[in-house]
């Protein structure tokens, strides 16, 4: 049976290992790259080469060019509050809201025993250490409302509790999306929004 030349097969195979990309999409992307000129590929190679110099912030574990990321280096933020997120993408998402002026802590994952991710594989110990040092009053756990997000939140609040400090932990509210019509909201979300209602 005919198949692609081996070099192309190698590329398809590598691309299909990327998250969210299946074999069909990998084929499409590979053929697309193949059609481009040499300049494009050289440029691409260079970009890949450059990201080798990137690392993680030693304080919050966000992606960073140097040992301390731009956010941690910014002295003008609110030191009393840390927002705990799963990954660097979440930092960008929350920054875009413009509603948060504290610092972040990136766990680099969620507790997930079935995938062999345990609390010690995450940056939880570093978080606890930070709290001991900084004048932190509140931790916002901005983690997904999933089994793994719930478990991670419980681990963190349990560890804080053990440490006997005065930090309060909060989780993001579950509720209605903006501009949504309550008639079209699903029952679970609407139910949560009723439970977590606020005085106006």
């Amino acid at each position: 049976m005919y198949n692609y030349p081996q070099k192309l097969q190698k590329l398809i195979n590598e691309i299909s290992k990327l998250p969210g990309i299946g074999p069909k999409m990998a084929e499409r992307v590979s053929i697309h790259i193949l059609k481009k000129d040499v300049e494009y590929i050289d440029n691409f190679k260079e970009i890949l080469e450059e990201i080798k110099t990137l690392g993680f912030c030693t304080i919050c574990f966000n992606v960073s060019e140097g040992p301390v990321c731009d956010i941690c280096a910014d002295d003008g933020r609110d030191k009393s509050i840390i927002c705990v997120v799963e990954s660097s993408e979440d930092v960008i998402t929350i920054e875009r809201t413009g509603k948060f002026r504290g610092y972040y802590h990136i766990l680099q994952g969620l507790v997930n025993p079935l995938n062999n991710v345990l609390p010690e594989n995450l940056r939880i110990a570093e978080l606890i250490k930070r709290i001991g040092k900084d004048p932190v009053k509140e931790l916002i756990l901005a983690l997904n409302h999933t089994v793994e997000g719930d478990a991670t939140s419980m681990f963190i609040s349990a560890m804080l509790h053990d440490d006997d400090n005065n930090v309060i932990t909060t989780r993001l509210a579950k509720g209605l999306p903006m501009g949504s019509d309550i008639r079209y909201a699903d029952e679970i979300t609407l139910g949560q929004a009723i439970l977590e209602r606020k005085q106006v």
Binding site: K24, L118, I188
Partner: protein
């Protein structure tokens, strides 16, 4: 609620099918292997998000094709709603939509088109393993409450995580300090599920006593567990906590969570006797039909609308007087779809629509 039309494309043995259904009884008859059950299956799939015959969606695609689609038109109080399912096996993606609005989660669809399925396998609810009885309750409750469906999904995942941790502890890879958080999660969602199930069993019993009991048959169900008998939230949590305190060693050895709704069962009684061990095959069949009828009536009460009754492979196994009794009970519903090999099996029924099925072709009679 009743279905007005069913359209299939490349589903099982149907390349393309469009039929109009009537309120009342719709009968599909034809020889075995002609595709009668496939029609029922397509409706069940749309209502429940999965088949009752296979957990593998790709199997539902017609041989030699890569995608199937189902489109149902349902009427409730004069309002028509379109339910569609599109599955593409090349990307393994399924889209479910109501009136063209795609559902983000399956829980948003399950229960919107209430159905009750009667199939020959129902008898396994009496004869079979505890898992089959749990499945009966879970399928019913998932249609009643969106939240039950979500909680059950979460709970089963939590148990899987916890079991894997137990295995890790046994193999010395994982520290025991990991357990308490998962104990708490399993307990919280587990108790929610048990409480919902116990309430549903009470409501089923009420239906069985009030609407379905006769001099000849009395059916009763009881929720049963090895670990708890007091179905009060506080007492249940107490049971879980003391279990986790005393049985963890055993759980580690077996790498299994030994308490919780995933290990519970139902006891089913026919005229006061344990139906599994003391009822005849015929009595077991009647018992399972009465329980399913109770499910249908309860669904009507909960949803405020009639579920569509799917009666797969209605056979002549029931003797004449029993058939009369059961037939009368079925007339409590608004629409019933029945498949059977011979028209004669339905003596005493008065069909509103009749369809002859042969080799992937359905003829309206």
């Amino acid at each position: 609620m009743y279905l007005k039309s069913v359209e299939l494309a490349n589903f099982r043995n149907y390349e393309s099918l469009k039929i109009k259904l009537m309120p009342g009884i719709n009968v599909f008859y034809g020889e075995n292997g002609t595709g009668k059950t496939n029609i029922i299956e397509s409706i069940y799939c749309t209502a429940m998000g999965r088949s009752f015959r296979s957990s593998e969606e790709a199997i539902l695609v017609k041989q030699g094709r890569t995608a199937f689609s189902i489109a149902l038109n349902a009427v409730e109080n004069g309002i028509e709603r379109d339910f569609t399912v599109d599955y593409d096996s090349s990307i393994r993606k399924k889209r479910v939509a109501i009136n063209g609005n795609r559902a983000a989660r399956l829980s948003q669809v399950v229960g919107k088109l209430p159905v009750v399925l009667f199939s020959p396998e129902n008898i396994m609810m009496i004869k079979g393993e505890p898992s089959q009885r749990r499945r009966f309750l879970d399928d019913m409750l998932s249609q009643f409450e969106e939240e039950y469906f979500e909680t059950l999904g979460k709970y089963l995942k939590e148990v899987a995580h916890r079991n894997y941790l137990l295995k890790g502890i046994r193999e010395g890879r994982v520290k025991r300090e990991n357990l308490p958080v998962w104990n708490e999660q399993v307990m919280n969602n587990g108790v929610k599920i048990i409480l919902s199930r116990v309430k549903a069993v009470e409501e089923l019993n009420l239906m069985l006593e009030k609407e379905l009991a006769s001099e000849k048959f009395r059916v009763h169900i009881a929720y049963s567990s090895k670990h708890y008998s007091n179905y009060d939230e506080k007492a249940l949590k107490e049971n879980f906590r003391s279990h986790f305190l005393s049985r963890t060693e055993d759980e580690i050895t077996r790498a299994a969570t030994l308490i919780g709704p995933h290990r519970d069962d139902l006891e089913i009684f026919y005229n006061g006797l344990d139906a599994k061990n003391f009822a005849s095959e015929g009595q077991q069949r009647i018992t399972s039909i009465l329980i399913k009828l109770a499910e249908g009536l309860l669904m009507k009460k909960k949803k405020g609308s009639f579920p569509v009754v799917l009666l797969d492979d209605f056979s002549s196994e029931l003797d004449e007087p029993n058939r009369g009794f059961i037939g009368k009970k079925f007339s409590l519903f608004k629409q019933i779809l029945i498949t059977t090999t011979y028209r004669e099996n339905l003596r005493g029924f008065d069909p509103a629509g009749e369809f002859e099925v042969a080799g992937g072709v359905v003829k309206t009679k």
